[in-house]
Symmetry: C2
Subunit: 121 residues, 2 copies
């Protein structure tokens, strides 16, 4: 589980903040897709869709393999895992399982050391 730097988290969450790109990720969860295939469901130009693909790529959410004239995209789950992990920090706020209390007590120290680190993004 790679811990992402703040700028990377920016890019990941920003990429996820658009329904078009989330839909592309869903499609990539089924199998690999070319840029054209990813663009197909949308009523927008290919150039526009291509920009969305690039945004996903910049965030590290997909990898691209150029095979001939087609660009084949695959899901790269690492940054998704990191985002998931980031959100996991707040799980104690919506989880009321009994062992959440343990987590609460443990994170008290985490919070203090995070405060010392300065940048906990």
């Amino acid at each position: 589980m790679v811990e992402l730097e703040a700028p990377q988290l920016d890019a990941v969450f920003h990429a996820l903040g658009d329904a078009t790109r989330r839909r592309m990720l869903r499609d990539l969860a089924k199998s690999e897709r070319t840029v054209g295939q990813l663009a197909e469901p949308f009523a927008m130009s290919l150039a526009a869709a291509s920009k969305h693909v690039k945004a996903l790529e910049n965030a590290g959410l997909i990898r691209r393999e150029v095979r001939g004239r087609a660009h084949i995209c695959r899901l790269a789950p690492g940054p998704l895992a990191s985002a998931h992990e980031w959100l996991n920090f707040y799980a104690r706020f919506w989880t009321d399982r009994l062992d959440a209390l343990e987590g609460l007590l443990l994170t008290e120290d985490t919070l203090r050391s995070d405060a010392c680190k300065g940048d906990d993004s």
Copy 2:
């Protein structure tokens, strides 16, 4: 666990895509804060910080109680849980636990019904 509509997910992920706002959430995880207290760590005007707070509020990530002249903000974990849940869909891509196979087989149906629903954002 409330399932968020696509526009709400947009707002939530967009709100999380900014280090300033993520830092505010971290502070709110420690305890409630006024707008002024949330703004304090940042080298920006109060008006600017106030806009960030409003972005968090619009995303449903915080609740605000106006007590006298102070606005007291508290973490509202619901949307965080939904975002976490959304990411959880992709967990099978980074999890190689054996029971992930079961999840894989289960989500095959999910994918198919999602395709019929049209908007699975």
